[in-house]
Structures are given as structure tokens and as C-alpha cells.
Symmetry: C2
Subunit: 307 residues, 2 copies
Amino acid sequence: MSLLVVGSVAFDAIETPFGKTDKIIGGAATYITLSSSYFTKKVNLVAVVGGDFPKEKIDLLEKHGVDTKGLQIKENEKSFFWSGKYHNDMNTRDTLVTELNVLGDFDPIVPDAYQNCEYLMLGNLTPMVQKTVIERLQKRPKLIVMDTMNFWMEVAMDDLLETIKLVDVLSINDEEARQLSGEYSLVKAARKIMAMGPRFLVIKKGEHGALLFNDEQVFFAPALPLEDVFDPTGAGDTFAGGFIGYLAKSDDISFDNMKRAIIYGSAMASLCVEKFGTERLEYLTAAQVDARVQEFVDLVQFEISLV
Amino acid sequence: MSLLVVGSVAFDAIETPFGKTDKIIGGAATYITLSSSYFTKKVNLVAVVGGDFPKEKIDLLEKHGVDTKGLQIKENEKSFFWSGKYHNDMNTRDTLVTELNVLGDFDPIVPDAYQNCEYLMLGNLTPMVQKTVIERLQKRPKLIVMDTMNFWMEVAMDDLLETIKLVDVLSINDEEARQLSGEYSLVKAARKIMAMGPRFLVIKKGEHGALLFNDEQVFFAPALPLEDVFDPTGAGDTFAGGFIGYLAKSDDISFDNMKRAIIYGSAMASLCVEKFGTERLEYLTAAQVDARVQEFVDLVQFEISLV
């Protein structure tokens, strides 16, 4: 089924205890589309870059089956740029630079060919831009997944709540779930957040895995214990890309299938963090993805016969 | 199979955001024996208390099938006392008072009737006391599990390393695993720690679950997402008690059975933290334990067919 992805396509400069990059490509939609491309080839992208964004990186996306008709190129402007430095624990980071550039007045134009998409993934962006995309679709997609972050809770809470109301799945991290709900217990937080609109909630816990809630069930997927995490940048977006990509491919939004999608998303994220930036996502094989999923199966499966 | 538990039996005074207790019973061996008693009735206790320890609490242990022949009562001395206050996140706490009292010169005398025990659980204690217990057993148990903490890494590292060398399973938390190994990655930490002696390593991550390693496999069990955690005191010991109790009952130390034991331990810990101190562990039914284990099954099981 066709998938529409909206989000940033940008430059990042990253420093981790393992090294430092110059400007490399990044952005939520870059990670999401690359990750989802391993599951479905009908990935449509709505985003904006400046004239400084390298043509060969757009070709790279195209080669992965990403349709870039909806990628606006503003020749005389600069791409969004973020620079950050991770602490030794890799769980916390300092933002060094944020230059909005073309994202400052991003108008998410949806090409006609993208209408009737059945799965919509709203990567982290201004909530009003996310809402505009939903409004511009003539037919409501079968499933709308939205990612966001604490920043919008601080500067645009009302807009955020309006947008959250319109989506099926909200994806945020544990601290954001606590901030949004005012509850420390993630079980209580999930209940409050689902009352705001979404039927499903994904709570990402970084190296501690991810939780999926609906109104009566909860599923937990661990993160894979890794020898080395080189660069956590994009892990959450890569997770989201695997999740929505698997759902779009299987076209089944039952809770049981969402569990599988969470495992595929977790597998993609665990691969992503093994190299800097999008490097690992650029040349994966289906066999490598399956082998990683098998590691998750081995990690958590057990057999208990209860009488 | 018979199980020998060595550890503290003591008083705690606990403050959490949900309330405050006076002196209540606590101590590693109290939680371990109560927890393991739901799996096997051959639980033998070696510990020491003062004359201030209430007779009815010893009766409580006896009623759970715990043999207290090895519980020394020093009539003219006082029991070990610990007091602590948990922060709002429940993951960190301040120790307010530590009075060693009878634990200061604890000589762990093993009654003859306890010889030939097949499972030995060494609760957190001075490493030399743990080692003495191993030396006093005429026949090496089939499995020795040892719990310890960062404090001993700071004040008695050499003794700790000597003792660790003698055990089959070491149980510590994630920060302790990092401190002991000097590695941030838990995968690397596990490899280094197993090279110190133990064939198995359990890394407890509190609300983030637990990992079990041997030299070629790794298993992860989540913690159950709970509405409220009232008091985390004793959760790690309750986990250890469920783990060793299940192993002693099933008398199977294969990795697959250890996975089940980890799930039972996690289930017991999740029950423990729902009330203050040992309260919840005092009156559980087998059906309640099974129902909780079923929640873990529901939480993590998924089906993926890989080609």
C-alpha cells in the first residue's frame, strides 16, 4: 500500500565519543523513508531542502524507491541544519546549532499523485504543518502515525493537541509521554494520552526499548543490547520508518501485526545506530534485516506452560 | 531440590512519594526466602538478627516453609537497620541510616541439616562472608547464585573478585556491571565479567527489565509497566528469590529454563513493589503468581515467520 512521509530532509553534524562528522545528510524524513524503503517501494516524500542539498543524495533516495516529486528544492535558500554532541552515555546530547532555514516557512504541498495514500507518516515538524498535510489529503488515510517532540509541548501545545486529535498512532519518548500527560507512570500516561485522540500510543525508551499501547493491551519490544552504539542520531525516525513501512507492506493494522511492526522498527533502529548518520541504512539487504529480526526473536522468546 | 539462602534479615524504614513506614522487616534474605517459598518448600535460611527482631516475623517465615534453624538470634544485640528515602522517579534513593549491628561480625554458621543443599543463593553481604559459606559446604551445590552491590566494589574489590570466581551466576544491576567491568556497553561488560568466573550473568535494570547472559546467548525480560510503584525496596532480592526458587523447584539449569526463571523472578518483583516492604509477598496465591506471569507472556510474545 502506498505510504506518504512528511518531515525534514536536512544536514546534521554529529559528535559522539566514537568520532565526529562534517555536514552529512539527516532529517526525520530521510531516516524514515530510507528505513521504510526496505519494506515497501511505494514511499512518497513531502519535504523541503535548499539549493545546497546534494543532488546525489536525492538520487540515493530515488534509488531506494522513494518518490521525490514532493521534495521542494528552494535553490536560493539553505537546508535545515542541526548539530549536536552526544555525552558518553549516548542517551543525552547537547544541541550545538539549529538553523531552520527552508523549514522556517515550509508549506507542505502534496502532489496530486500522492493523493489516496493509505498510510501517512508525519515526521517531527511544526504541529501546524503536520495538521495541514492531513487537511490537504482528499481521503483520510487508513492509518496516520505522528511523531513529535518535547519542543512543541513547550512552544505550541495548543497546536500540538489539535493535531494529536487527528491521528491514529502517536509516537513519542518516555520523557515526552510524562510531560504531555503529567503522569510519571507510563501506564497512566498512556491512558491520558489516548484520551486526547490517538487509538494507539508508541512510547520509545531508547536503549530500553519501546512500548505499544491501545485501550486494552500493551506490548513491549526491547532494544537489542549492542557491542557499540556509534551514533544514536535518527534511531527514533528509523524505528518509525520500519514500523510504518512494515504496516504499509502487510496492510494489516491489527494489534498483533503492530507488534510485528514494532519489532521490525526496533531491528531497523538497532542497525542504524551501528554507523554514523544514514550510512548503515543505505546498503542493507533483506537478509541482514531478517537476521536482525531473528536476534530479537532469540532475545525475548521463552516458553512457559501455565496450567 | 533444597535451597540454601544466606543474607540479611533486618529492619527497614522507608519513605517513598506514596508514604512512609516505621521500622518494618526487610533484608535481602527476607525478600529472597519469601519469594522463593512460592516455588519450593525446602528453603533453608542462614542469617543473624538481634533480640529486637519480632518472634512473629520468624513465625511468618516458618509458615512460608522457610527453615529458620540457621537464623542466629543474638539476644543482647540489635538487628541490622537501614533507612532510605526514594526520589520522585523511584529509581534513585538516599540512604538515611545504616546501622550494621549484628551484621558487623556475622559468622555464617551452616547447620548440619543444611549440608548437601543443591541450590545456594548468596544475598548481598560482605564478600568474605559469602565466600565462607561456600567453603563451609562439604559438597559444592549444583548452582551458586550471588548477588552483590557497588559498595563492595569500592571497599572490598579484591575479596569480591575472589568470591565472584567461585559462583555460577552473578546478579548485579546495570551500573554495577559497568563499574565492575569498566565497560559502558552491557554486552562488553557481560563478556568481561563472565571472564572473572561466573558462567551466567544477570544484569538487573530496575524498571527497564533484566538481561541474562551466558557465553553465547542473551535473554531479555522486561519489567511489567505498572500503574503505581509504591515501594521498590526488595525488588532485586524478590527477583532473585523467584529466579532461584523456580530453578530449585524445576531442578533444570539449562539456559532455556533460566529464561523461565527470569520471568518468574520478574513477576515476583512486579508484585512486591505494589505494596510497602514485604506486605505483598506475605499473602500471595499460586493463581496470583501465574496470572502475573501470564501478563509477562502477553507483554512480550509476538509471532513473526521469517523465510
